[in-house]
């Protein structure tokens, strides 16, 4: 079973700076099959959306192969501030 902690751990391999924001929400109601992942990082500045998702998909490939559904929000720090409260 995949947990919020598993996902956070893998995301922190790349998003480890103090400024990086990571929010992982289990939307499965406890069975661990559906997650929402929001990341805010300056590493996304100037990177296309497809490429941002590829970066995260690669970090989470182990988890993604085990779960049913995942929603990714890959934001710059500015976008994160603007959008995180609208989730």
């Amino acid at each position: 079973m995949v947990s919020v902690e598993d996902i956070e751990k893998h995301l922190k391999e790349k998003f480890s700076s103090e400024d990086d924001k990571i929010k992982v929400i289990d939307e499965s109601g406890g069975c661990g099959a559906k997650f929402l992942v929001a990341i805010g990082s300056s590493q996304f500045d100037g990177v296309s959306l497809l490429e941002r998702h590829r970066i995260v998909n690669e970090l989470l490939k182990e988890e993604i192969s085990q779960i049913h559904a995942i929603t990714l929000k890959t934001w710059t720090l500015k976008q994160y501030e603007e959008k995180i409260n609208t989730l």
Binding site: H53, I70, T71
Partner: protein, 139 residues
């Protein structure tokens, strides 16, 4: 090639895990990848999805269909639930782990989340328009 087989072998689950199946999988997958190339060659806009546009069988695939409808796009679709080999091959082909996947002129545009963002920003209209896959507006 070994690397490729290993990756496929570790990703498969359940009944796919028989060693015989994995041995034959490389060949089968090569054939599938070739089939995908042909599908993308024949159709400028292609959605790989779960279910059909008339009856999507997953919320994310439904989102993709609704977006393409709203855009007025003309597209071909393939149901990966009807073809387990296609379901695995398209993930390898697009280097993308999830379904749906939208391709325009042979290029992966994105999955449901990416499509929704591109739709909201207007970029998707531009991509579809440039590829000339938007239906002509009624007079």
């Amino acid at each position: 090639m070994n690397n490729f087989l290993f990756r496929v072998g570790t990703k498969t689950t359940g009944f796919l895990r028989s060693s015989q199946f994995i041995r034959s999988y490389g060949v089968k997958q090569d054939r599938k990848l070739e089939e995908i190339r042909k599908q993308l060659n024949d159709n400028p806009c292609v959605l790989y999805m779960k279910g059909t546009p008339e009856r999507p069988e997953c919320g994310f695939s439904n989102t993709a269909v609704r977006i393409l409808e709203a855009e007025g796009a003309v597209y071909a679709s393939f149901n990966v639930l009807k073809d387990e080999n296609l379901r695995e091959a398209i993930k390898v082909f697009g280097d993308w782990p999830t379904i749906p996947q939208l391709y325009v002129q042979g290029e992966l545009v994105g999955g449901a989340d990416v499509l929704m963002s591109l739709y909201k920003s207007g970029e998707l209209t531009e991509i579809l328009n440039n590829a000339k896959v938007l239906a002509k507006k009624e007079e």
